[in-house]
């Protein structure tokens, strides 16, 4: 059992600062400098967690930030990583994956039912569609990990950008050397490490403190500890995550010195509390003064195992035996550390393997059964011997922490000598050093780090790469065992500790045909838990390779995707900026009772609430005001673009389907825009202000995209014209209704009479003393004027218009009323009544297309589409029963098949009908055709195809001088 050791000058904990916290309701004492896990381990608790699937007791495995055993619920926050989160006084810590507490977990019975829960049992047992909802509820209830509080407040975190010449990831021996070398070359260096202090896994090793001191004294090196490099994206931008924020680091060059991840040996009960990685024990002893046990057995397959043994012995920890999987000849017998172990009387069992760990009455490991072992024949179960112990440390090999290399598009190959994936293709500007590069010896890691640092600095423009050695020789010895996996007839030899996957689970999956890395992962879920395969991918690959009689290199790893570690969503969300645009009269809308709705990234009044009116009544009253007298709507959200120059007309002829070079000065024309494939993408009104000056509008949602595309086309065509986007700088109002002319005339300095200012005309004038651009358009089907003014003058004009209209019962109207008004006129809305495949012919907008022009964007496609004929047509529909109307996107059904969809629908008080637009197959497009629309509950709704416009079909109200 683990216990707290005597103090040591190099320890990270502060004995004079005890911290009291609770674990599972029980008071526990730790120290400042402890993590949650080290404090719990130091307190001697027998086990700290339950596993995800079988609810087996678990304790520390890796103590390295990717230990899924030790996720805790802390002060209501789920899945806090105990290995790395610093202890605070008063923390309330509970285990996850339990029902009724850690010790009395009711779900521990699942461990006894393991043979009934084989790999893939979900897919085999719970595929019934009928019963699936029940199973889903059951599994959601059983599923472990932390509990998310739906009442938790939104936490805003400060994201930031940062920049450096060279980013070094990993502050171990090679990373420190790389940072120093790059800095000495003149580069500004940022060195990041996920550990609380620099030094990495080498902390405490010979010479490492001198390196750390040199780095911390260097003028151009910034050291960020407690910071993970979570992802690497294009152009070498790296996501750095610390406890409080996400930093988007852009570096000119990146050095990956991310090291290796120690791998567990696979044997029966290798998950018992007290069985841990040797690197975990080293960190616990050296940093937090927590001994792994009082009688330790080390499972070995590399030199590091013996070095760990001597560190423990030097710290007063008793090591009973070293069980080395390698035969005598491969077990580094001449290495000083090996000889030291022998000279200390530690029993060395070579060519042996752990066959099974044995639990004591408290559930903690109490012994290790070992047996003779070789890779070909496995363990000799007939010659098992039990070693008494209370801790088992595993030091059998490593996996390269190359995930960031994969994120950046790099590739690796499997090196049979090292038994490790090593870099093969590295992206431009990225350099790899140290153990992740297959260089294990301390001096070699220093040299490799220096090499990578100098190359990175040269890439960033500091020094020359010519004098830098291209490579440092990789390790001659084998730091990882080729097959550290021991079969056992009773299984429970875990490959994946996150998902409780045993060797036979993987073998069964392969047997069932899931025999590639990717298939095996998805079927068995190996590597899909919180640690994302950091402890399981390599061993799973070895099991797969054995089953298929292939080498690991022939199978390859699964795809590594960001993030490297789990990252709290709050850090990804940052401050959650939600860009919102407001028109200049936004405050006036609010004062008039606007109920807001989003429109693109604008906020617009949906309608104006009035006391005593429901939403529907307000909208109906706004519609009625426009139809009977006067209404005013803010259309400042429309895109507004000016184009100037001798070839402005030619430009518009090419950009739009219609012709505008022949448009008379002072007049407007409807403009329809399609893309190269002939699909409708935008529409608006084009006004000619002068021979070489046009002003045109786009849809609200399309303004930015359209302007960007027009700029691209202008650069492409090289015409003599210039585009100006004034969308935000000009406000726009639609002043509409039979009274609009007479009221506007009272504020305007030009003649608004029919002869002077006809329908579709455009004029420059002053309205309420403000320079304004007036367009006589009829989107809502009444006499009306769009009034466009500079944003700074908008409020004055808006208020003047409302005041002047007051005697006539003017009402400001919102988007909903406008939807009704335009639909009564049968006007389509691009993006609502059209979709990503609709061409002008299908949208009944062929009249807006001038195929005689020499060229316009999409013309060639439209010729083809015209020859092919429409696949669908936009038609007006009238619902038989106005009390039962469908909703937008409801389907039109014919003979059991989908034959169209409703694109717009309203209940028109003006007409006393429910009307809409629908996109239907051509066979159903003829006027009078009966349609069946499927409602929400599947019930049929009867409708008929009718001609549009529904209201004022001859357009007299918007065109005729006597409209009022």
């Amino acid at each position: 059992m683990m216990y707290r050791m005597e103090s040591h000058p190099a320890e990270w904990i502060v004995r004079s600062a005890p911290l009291v916290f609770t674990f599972e309701g029980r008071e526990v004492r730790g120290y400042e400098g402890d993590t949650i896990s080290s404090a719990l381990a130091g307190a001697g608790l027998p086990f700290l967690a339950r596993s995800f699937k079988y609810h087996r007791p678990r304790s520390i495995l890796s103590f390295a930030n990717h230990d899924s055993n030790l996720l805790f619920q802390v002060d209501g926050v789920p899945n806090v990583r105990g290995d790395v989160v610093p202890l605070r006084a008063g923390m309330q810590v509970t285990a996850v994956n339990t029902f009724g507490g850690l010790a009395a977990d009711k779900a521990r019975i699942l461990d006894r039912l393991a043979r009934f829960l084989p790999v893939g049992f979900y897919y085999k047992a719970f595929h019934s569609r009928r019963h699936f909802p029940r199973w889903e509820r059951l599994f959601r209830a059983i599923t472990g990990l932390g509990v998310v509080s739906l009442d938790a407040p939104r936490q805003s975190t400060p994201k930031r950008y940062a920049f450096c010449d060279v980013l070094v990831i990993g502050a171990g021996r090679s990373g420190l050397a790389a940072a120093l070398a790059a800095s000495e070359a003149g580069a500004a260096v940022t060195l990041v490490d996920e550990g609380a202090r620099p030094g990495g896994a080498s902390a405490g090793s010979t010479g490492i403190q001198e390196l750390v001191d040199a780095v911390q004294g260097a003028p151009r090196i910034q050291v960020l500890t407690g910071t993970e490099a979570a992802a690497c994206y294009a152009d070498l931008w790296v996501a750095l995550v610390d406890n409080t924020r996400l930093t988007k680091m852009r570096a000119r060059a990146v050095v990956l010195a991310t090291g290796v991840i120690e791998q567990p040996a696979v044997f029966r009960n290798n998950d018992l509390p007290g069985v841990m990685l040797a690197s975990a024990a080293r960190s616990l002893v050296l940093r937090h003064r927590v001994a792994p046990g009082r009688r330790v057995v080390i499972v070995a397959a590399n030199l590091e195992a013996y070095e760990t043994c001597m560190i423990l012995v030097a710290q007063g920890v008793s090591v009973a035996a070293i069980v080395d999987l390698r035969p005598e000849r491969d077990a580094d017998p001449q290495e000083p550390a090996v000889q030291d172990c022998a000279s200390h009387g530690i029993e060395l069992l070579r060519g042996s393997a752990p066959y099974a760990a044995v639990a004591g009455s408290d559930g903690v490991v109490a012994g290790l059964d070992v047996a003779p072992f070789d890779v070909v024949n496995g363990a000799d179960a007939a010659r098992v011997r039990r070693l008494e112990c209370d801790a088992v440390l595993m030091s059998i090999g490593w996996a390269a922490a190359a995930q960031l290399l994969y994120h950046a598009g790099g590739r690796t190959r499997f090196d049979d000598g090292l038994q490790q994936f090593i870099p093969e293709e590295v992206p431009d500007g990225m350099f790899v050093a140290g153990r992740v590069n297959g260089v294990f010896e301390p001096q070699g890691r220093l040299a490799d780090g220096r090499r990578a640092g100098l190359l990175a600095a040269a890439h960033a423009g500091f020094g020359s790469a010519a004098a830098v050695p291209a490579v440092v020789p990789r390790s001659g010895r084998r730091p990882s065992h080729a097959f550290p996996i021991v079969d056992h007839p009773q299984a429970k030899n875990f490959v994946d500790f996150d998902e409780d996957l045993q060797v036979r689970d993987l073998e069964n999956a392969v047997q069932e045909g899931f025999d590639s890395s990717e298939l095996l992962k998805r079927y068995s879920t190996v590597g899909m838990g919180p640690s994302q395969g950091k402890h399981s991918h390599l061993n799973a690959l070895r099991v797969l390779a054995r089953a298929r009689r292939l080498g690991p290199g022939e199978l390859g790893l699964t795809t590594a995707r960001p993030m490297y570690h789990p990252v709290p969503i709050k850090l990804l969300a940052g401050r959650s900026f939600h860009v919102e645009r407001r028109t200049p009269v936004d405050a006036d809308h609010a004062a008039q009772g606007a109920v807001w709705m989003p429109a693109g990234n604008w906020r617009r009044p949906e309608y104006y609430a009035r006391a005593g009116e429901s939403r529907e009544q307000s909208i109906a009253a706004e519609v009625a005001a426009v139809r009977s007298s006067l209404g005013l709507i803010d259309v400042g959200t429309l895109g507004k673009i000016e184009i100037y120059g001798p070839q402005a007309g030619l430009f518009l002829d090419r950009a739009y389907t219609g012709r505008f070079s022949d448009l008379r000065v002072g007049m407007t024309r409807y403009g329809l825009m399609v893309d190269e494939s002939g699909v409708v993408v935008d529409d608006g009104v084009v006004a000619r202000l002068a021979p070489e000056a046009y002003y045109f509008t786009t849809t609200t949602g399309g303004s930015a995209t359209v302007f960007r595309e027009l700029l691209r086309l202008n650069a492409l065509w090289g015409l003599d014209c210039a585009l100006v986007n004034v969308t935000g700088h000009r406000a726009g109002f639609n002043f509409a209704g039979p009274r609009s002319r007479e009221v506007l005339q009272s504020l305007c300095d030009i003649d608004l009479g029919e002869a002077a200012f006809p329908y579709l005309g455009v004029r420059e004038a002053r309205v309420a003393g403000v320079p304004a651009r007036l367009m006589r358009v009829g989107f809502v089907g009444e006499l009306g004027y769009e009034i466009h003014v500079a944003a700074g003058s908008a409020c004055a004009v808006w208020r003047a218009l409302l005041a002047a209209g007051q005697p006539h019962g003017i009402r400001p109207f919102g988007v909903e009323a406008q939807r009704v008004l335009r639909l009564e006129k049968g006007h389509l809305i691009v993006g609502q009544d059209t979709d990503g495949l609709t061409d002008p012919l299908e949208a009944n907008a062929a009249w807006a297309v001038s195929m005689k022009k020499p060229y316009f964007v999409g013309q060639r496609s439209l010729r083809i589409l015209k020859a092919r004929g429409p696949r669908q047509l936009l038609v007006g529909i009238e619902i038989d029963d106005p009390a039962r109307i469908p909703r937008e996107c409801h389907l039109v059904i014919q003979d059991g098949d989908i034959a169209g969809r409703v694109t717009s629908i309203v209940r028109s008080a003006t007409l006393g009908k429910a009307i809409g637009l629908a996109m239907v197959v051509p066979a159903l497009a003829a006027t009078g055709t009966r349609l069946t629309i499927r409602g929400d509950g599947g019930e049929p709704i009867a409708a008929a195809v009718v001609p549009t416009p529904f209201y004022d079909p001859r357009g007299e109200r918007q065109k005729a001088p006597g409209a009022a």
């Binding site: 400060p158 940062a162 860009v579 969308t727 935000g728 944003a791």
Partner: protein
């Protein structure tokens, strides 16, 4: 080093919403010649700015577009606008500017900027008087770094319809950084 990322200090970090300064914009192949002809010293290099005698900011956006903010003395824009209205010069086109303007200043202003946009302002060649056109918290902005006796400050402009959002966002961020916000959004 370029782009330090340390703790934000408390020394005078401030965001101010500016108001009242008139703006003028024009573009076109003859815009530079016409402005020079009006006696205005215009920046030669694209994406740089210069200060007129009365303190007006004259920014050259790309090669053929100009943005001018009136100086404290208010002597530049009125004659320019009058001349433009009267002349109707071919190849010079008006650009309506109704931008909102902000000033960011203080010892840690670059730390604040690092939380707002992805331009490394520290690494700019300030001797060239650069103009930066970028996205800041999702909004297209025009930024002019200015050297003062108190240190560097950043004047920025945005489309007025983004002004309330940008202002309230700046207010929140500068507040979290221990600075202050002055202006209508307070």
């Amino acid at each position: 080093m370029s782009g330090p990322i340390g703790q934000t200090g408390q020394n005078g970090l401030q965001v101010e919403l500016l108001s009242g300064r008139a703006l003028f914009g024009c573009k076109g192949p003859r815009a530079a010649d016409w402005l020079s002809g009006q006696g205005l010293a215009i920046p030669v290099a694209p994406n740089t700015w210069s200060a007129a005698a009365d303190g007006a900011v004259v920014a050259r956006l790309g090669t053929s577009e100009f943005f001018i903010e009136e100086g404290a003395a208010g002597a530049t824009l009125q004659p320019l606008a009058s001349a433009f209205a009267a002349a109707a010069v071919s190849g010079v086109y008006p650009v309506l500017r109704e931008d909102w303007a902000f000033m960011l200043r203080g010892d840690d202003v670059e730390v604040l900027l690092a939380q707002l946009c992805n331009v490394d302002f520290v690494a700019l060649d300030h001797a060239r008087s650069p103009v930066v056109m970028t996205l800041m918290v999702g909004v297209a902005v025009l930024v002019v770094p200015q050297a003062t006796a108190a240190g560097r400050q950043y004047r920025l402009w945005c489309d007025p319809t983004y002004g309330p959002y940008l202002g309230s966002t700046l207010q929140g961020v500068v507040g979290e950084c221990g600075g202050t916000y002055r202006g209508m959004m307070e």
